[in-house]
């Protein structure tokens, strides 16, 4: 993976890239730079505007409470009233700070993107048809609209998103992807999409614009990372409902407490009542909720994935079925020779030698792998073409379906598809044995590709030597990865164009749950629909135009950035690295987002227990001294107890901002294991931590005159 220019402004080190099956991995995020807090302060203060605060009911209640205590502190000044007032305001500011910091990181990224979106001058073609360029005029890039044609030449910036309709060029897309190596973009096929703001390095292309002004890919990216039109996701909404209702319950509990207390002769001051309320309502999660959401999107961006909506990120956490393309995701891109199988009577080394000879000029990855195998497994030194003076290399053609070499001494070697080579043997007077056929079948049956090797010595009939076993190499560690996914309850389906036999063998080796062989786009679509019919959520990756319908149908469709603009339009995420394995990470990020919310909610509610033990005896042990027993923390005085609870309540927000931004630790495991672990840490921890925290704060606060 490349360094990421997108995150330059946020000095957040990238989390180590996950390696399949490597060390215990987890989804990580950027760490919090204390400087960010300071830089975000102005934004945090701006958010104190009640119209903005209204969107967050929990913190709005705190703000109203702060305003009330301020009034109280001004009209009836006391050290206690002022200390509480200051800390209540700090609570609100801290909450805003959390959001501002999360947004700040996005803003920094947006700024970088905006640089790429410099005003470009577009060379618009009045009319274009194949072979006819029409008249050219210069317009501002922002004025381009759907269906315009522009011409871009080496050194120029592509003025808008579109498809190449003429020519081929190398393009520098680092502004978007952070990848410095240029990529090839050409008309037709699946690599025709170009993105506005990227730069043509060589050649000349004509681009048909496919986006409206202001809706280009870069525009959307900027919007996304800035969170400008961030909409609350379903889960976030549901959680908000829960938090709001808890806030109302506690509001009622506090408001109705006053007449009860008054009757008992223990009427409380407004400052104390507001303190009790603020301590009880779930301020911790209320303060961090939106930061968690923004940071979740941010974590995706850091992994070079653009989610078109927060909804898609959440859906990723719910995925039941992953459709994975075989090539590149499950297997390395190419087949490799794994074994030489000689026929009876042929020495293994002789076969290896012949195989190597025939592959010397074969520059395909398969050919190279044969040479490598011969060297590593049979110790055959690699011979250079130059060593074989007078040798004539026979290249592979679609007609002959074999390649080989004719040496100067008349020795001929061929390798290729079974039927083609055997025909060659027969044509040259040989009699291929039955055995070859069964070897070929065995290798095919195991999912491999058999290449038959034959030779013909001068003056003798040709004979088969044996078979090279070419096989798909399953990525190291991918099996463990799928086992983890299975533990998470996710079914993996391998999509491949191979025949069912081959597909089955690879599927077994890789440990996927199911496979779709000889898959056509229609098959993919049918599979997705079938899964969804049963209520499952499906994720897939795709790049080609013919993937677009399936990408649109899937609940999470990740389009490769190298793909066509149709594919990118259809999916709800774009992977700028075009790495199909990323889907697994996306799922983990989605889950982590929800887990962070759930865990902090639990933590926030569990905190209340300790706060009660601090505040209730402080309020009522004057009239009912027996309640002093509840002061199990042994807090110094009523005022110091309430102050300590409020200070703890505010500080815990600051303390948890890094966690909110980073997300809680997530290790793929079963639901029960996850629940048990998070309950222990955030439930039990949330119960115990404030007892310690409030006591510690009280040890300091008790020395403040006026709070004794």
């Amino acid at each position: 993976m490349s360094s990421n220019t997108l995150t330059e402004a946020a000095p957040a080190p990238r989390a180590p890239q996950q390696k399949p099956g490597g060390e215990p991995h987890r989804v990580g995020g950027g760490f919090l730079d204390p400087k960010m807090l300071w830089k975000s302060l102005p934004d945090a203060l701006k958010k104190l505007d009640p119209r903005v605060m209204m969107k967050n009911p929990v913190m709005f209640v705190v703000e109203v409470g702060s305003a009330l205590t301020t009034y109280e502190a001004i009209t009836k000044p006391s050290v206690f009233a002022w200390v509480i007032t200051v800390w209540l305001w700090l609570t609100v500011v801290f909450a805003n700070l959390a959001e501002a910091v999360a947004e700040g990181r996005g803003k920094a990224q947006a700024a970088t993107l905006r640089k790429a979106k410099t005003t470009t001058v577009a060379r618009k073609l009045a009319s274009w048809s194949p072979g006819n360029s029409g008249a050219e005029s210069e317009v501002a890039g922002t004025e381009l609209t759907l269906g315009d044609f522009v011409v871009v030449e080496a050194g120029q910036v592509i003025p808008g998103d579109g498809d190449v309709v003429e020519g081929v060029a190398s393009v520098d897309e680092s502004a978007i992807t952070g990848e410095s190596a240029p990529v090839i973009r050409e008309s037709g096929g699946d690599r025709s999409a170009v993105t506005g703001g990227t730069k043509v390095l060589s050649d000349r292309i004509v681009v048909k614009i496919t986006s409206k002004p202001g809706e280009t890919f870069i525009d959307r990216m900027i919007n996304l990372v800035e969170g400008a039109n961030r909409q609350k996701t379903p889960n976030e909404l549901a959680l908000n409902v829960l938090l709001a209702s808890l806030t109302i319950v506690f509001l009622l509990a506090v408001v109705t407490l006053q007449p009860m207390a008054t009757w008992a002769g223990a009427a409380q001051s407004l400052v104390v009542m507001v303190s009790l309320l603020v301590a009880l309502i779930p301020t911790t999660i209320g303060a961090l909720l939106s930061a968690i959401g923004i940071a979740g999107m941010d974590r995706l961006v850091q992994r070079n994935v653009l989610a078109m909506s927060g909804r898609a990120v959440e859906a990723a956490g719910d995925i039941n079925t992953l459709l994975l393309d075989k090539t590149g995701t499950i297997t390395l891109g190419n087949r490799q020779a794994s074994e030489f199988v000689p026929v009876a009577g042929v020495d293994k080394d002789a076969l290896a030698d012949a195989a190597q000879l025939s592959s010397l000029s074969d520059e395909t990855p398969e050919g190279r792998s044969i040479v490598v195998l011969a060297k590593t497994a049979y110790g055959l030194r690699e011979r250079h073409e130059g060593e074989l003076a007078g040798a004539e290399f026979v290249p592979f053609t679609a007609q002959t379906r074999m390649s080989g070499v004719n040496l100067a001494d008349g020795h001929e070697v061929r390798k290729g598809a079974g039927s083609a080579v055997m025909k060659w043997v027969r044509d040259n007077g040989g009699h291929p044995t039955e055995e070859v056929g069964s070897l070929v079948d065995a290798i095919s049956g195991a999912g491999g590709t058999p290449l038959v090797v034959a030779e013909k010595a001068p003056g003798q009939p040709a004979r088969t030597l044996g078979v090279i076993h070419l096989k798909d190499v399953v990525k190291e560690g991918i099996r463990e990865r799928f086992a983890e996914l299975r533990q998470m309850g996710i079914k993996t389906v391998m999509i491949t164009g191979d025949n069912p036999l081959t597909a089955k063998a690879i599927a077994e080796e890789a440990g996927v749950d199911d496979f779709l062989a000889e898959a056509t786009p229609e098959d993919k679509m049918a599979l997705i629909k079938k899964e969804q019919e049963g209520g499952k959520l499906v994720a897939m990756t795709g790049d080609g135009t013919n993937d677009a319908p399936a990408l649109a149908q899937a609940d999470v469709g990740v389009a490769m950035n190298t793909g066509t603009s149709a594919a990118k339009e259809a999916g709800n995420m774009v992977d700028l690295d075009s790495n199909p394995t990323k889907l697994i990470e996306i799922v983990e990020i989605g889950k982590q987002l929800l887990i962070t919310r759930g865990s902090l909610t639990t933590f926030s509610i569990a905190n209340d227990v300790a706060k009660y033990f601090a505040i209730i005896p402080a309020m009522f042990s004057v009239v009912y001294p027996g309640l002093h027993v509840l002061n199990i923390m042994g807090l110094h005085s009523a005022k110091s107890a309430i102050t300590s609870a409020i200070i703890f309540n505010a500080l815990i927000i600051i303390g948890l901002i890094p966690l909110a931004l980073r997300g809680v630790q997530y290790k793929p495991s079963s639901a029960s294991a996850l629940l048990r672990r998070n309950l222990l840490i955030y439930g039990a921890g949330g119960l115990v931590l404030p007892f310690v925290g409030i006591k510690l704060i009280d040890l300091v606060v008790q020395f403040i005159p006026g709070l004794r």
């Binding site: 379903p234 959680l239 407490l257 008992a264 889950k591 759930g598 639990t602 027996g626 629940l675």
Partner: protein, 561 residues
């Protein structure tokens, strides 16, 4: 036999009875609520009522039907109470005054059975049997009908049809409540409970003068009062009265009756959703709360730190000698954890923590096992809230029984858990703020010279906790028969009953519309000890946090010296 062993065996016998009933009764109720066949009697009834038993209702129609029968119930009962002096067998009782009649009508239709009157000198036969007892039957059955609908919300997919209220109601009445009541009424009579149509008799007592005595149709009403978790007694002393509850054996039967439907409904639920384990999970949470609460109150009653006697005991104040402490706390725990509210001992005279436990039991929302139907839907709502938080913690959109908990579902669940505390706290706060209304607190329970006391406050808190949760038991020292208390109480009971029903039925409607989500390894297992533990924790934490401040001014202040 030692007292301890006897007490334990008593609990064991009850648990055994309930355990034996769990499967057959649960399965039977599931059958009643799902079978397509109508009996001949029912067909006649449907015709008489003018309803189409095959019509499948939306949640809105179902709710409106619930409201219709409840409104008719309130009006009918109110009318009966207002004209009872014109009815036959009125025992010479005058008409009930308007606000008490309103309060009583609301009370019995909402399955609360809060009584601001004393039965033996307020009501005649007709008002009791054809008025109150009928509402006892109907309100209990309405609860079961509503929970059946919620369960259908889980079992049905992609539909807005949730069943037929009239069919559910009729079947529960005719096939469950009525036969059960007949059998157990006869058993109660056989054990000494009274059942006659006679007028007052004169009992000649040479020493302290003759007395007038009447028996009433007690056993028949006693059974449904318990079976339907209603709680309104024929006599003022309720199930402490020897005519209602003559022996420790009938006491056991009565506790069994008030628990049995509540504890068996999880089986019905498990059967209907196709996983008995789900039922076991819920029933185990109910049982743990019940046992825990029982141990807690029994401990504090037997280790009374009472101030009254030199040897430290006043625990028998307000308890009957034939029951003693264990059988009283067993009844108290059961009646406050269901929405019954019948009493065999006066909760007002319990130790501070014992009485506090009674209050806390009700504050839990009547879910362990709760009222008929209402207990199960109460705990299902809490399960949904738990699933939501737990679901987030495992990184998936929370789902329960294959249905997603989305903002809509969460909205109704949140409204549900918000409603009862709001009713309880607002009315309690209001009563405490009103000088004239705190006068209803019993003067004997106030401090020196009528000064405020924690126990005095407890009477008010208990009253609205009881009414808001449709329990009906009381800290009986409070004089509730005033205009304000009758009116406020009626409102509290209606809000506490019908608002939650709206949320439950709306939730059912929203769940039924969903398509099911398949269960996978990543799905949170809701039939597991871990989930049961978390559900228990959520219940205790949410309730504890909501009521802790109020409780600290009542039982806690009283109990902590």
């Amino acid at each position: 036999m030692s007292d301890t062993w006897a007490g334990l065996l008593q609990v064991a016998a009850l648990v055994l009875l309930l355990a034996v009933s769990y499967r057959p009764l649960g399965d039977y109720m599931a059958h009643i609520l799902t079978t397509k066949k109508h009996s001949r009697v029912e067909k006649v009834l449907y015709k008489t009522m003018g309803v189409d038993p095959e019509a499948d209702q939306t949640w809105g129609t179902y709710l409106r039907s619930v409201f219709a029968i409840s409104a008719v119930g309130v009006l009918l009962l109110y009318t009966l109470l207002r004209v009872q002096h014109h009815l036959m067998m009125a025992l010479g009782m005058p008409k009930v005054n308007a606000d008490l009649a309103y309060n009583t009508a609301a009370s019995f239709v909402t399955n609360t059975n809060w009584q601001n009157y004393s039965g033996e000198n307020t009501l005649g036969y007709v008002a009791q049997a054809t008025g109150l007892a009928v509402q006892n039957f109907v309100s209990a059955s309405v609860g079961i009908a509503v929970v059946a609908t919620l369960i259908r919300g889980f079992t049905r997919n992609r539909t807005d049809r949730l069943g037929n209220f009239w069919v559910d109601l009729t079947r529960v009445l005719i096939r469950l409540m009525l036969p059960f009541s007949i059998v157990f009424a006869v058993i109660l009579v056989a054990c000494g409970s009274v059942q006659s149509l006679g007028d007052h008799m004169t009992v000649v007592h040479t020493i302290n003068g003759d007395q007038s005595l009447y028996t009433g149709g007690t056993a028949s009403q006693e059974v449904i009062k318990l079976l339907g978790t209603n709680g309104g007694g024929i006599f003022n002393a309720n199930s402490a009265h020897p005519f209602e509850n003559p022996t420790a054996f009938t006491n056991l039967i009565e506790i069994y009756l008030l628990l049995v439907i509540g504890f068996s409904l999880p089986r019905t639920f498990g059967k209907m959703v196709g996983s008995h384990k789900q039922g076991y999970t819920l029933v185990s949470v109910m049982a743990i709360i019940w046992v825990g609460s029982l141990i807690f109150s029994t401990f504090f009653e037997t280790h009374h730190h009472g101030i009254n006697l030199a040897d430290g005991h006043a625990a028998l104040e307000g308890k009957e000698s034939r029951f003693g402490i264990p059988a009283s706390t067993l009844f108290m725990t059961s009646t406050t954890l269901t929405s019954t509210g019948a009493v065999n001992s006066w909760h007002d005279s319990y130790s501070p923590f014992g009485g506090g436990a009674a209050m806390f039991n009700m504050m839990l929302g009547e879910i362990a096992p709760g009222g008929t139907g209402s207990g199960l839907y109460g705990i299902l709502i809490l399960a949904i809230v738990t699933v939501f938080i737990a679901g987030l913690m495992v990184g998936r959109t929370p789902e329960y029984l294959g249905k997603k908990i989305r903002p809509t579902e969460m909205k109704y669940a949140a409204l549900y858990i918000l409603t009862t505390p709001a009713v309880v706290l607002i009315f309690t706060g209001l009563a405490m703020a009103l000088k004239g209304e705190t006068a209803s607190i019993s003067s004997g329970n106030l401090g020196p010279n009528g000064s405020p006391s924690p126990h005095g406050f407890s009477e008010v808190l208990y009253a609205f906790t009881s009414m808001g949760n449709n329990n009906g038991s009381a800290f009986g020292g409070l004089s509730g028969n005033t205009h304000w208390w009758n009116t406020a109480g009626a409102l509290a009971m209606m809000f506490g009953r019908f608002l939650p029903m709206i949320w439950v039925l709306a939730l059912a409607g929203s769940l039924a519309k969903q398509k099911p989500v398949p269960e996978t390894e990543g799905t949170l297992k809701t039939a597991s000890p871990l989930f049961a533990g978390m559900l228990l924790g959520t219940i205790l934490l949410v309730v504890g946090l909501t009521y802790f401040p109020a409780l600290s001014l009542g039982p806690l202040a009283e109990g902590l010296h």
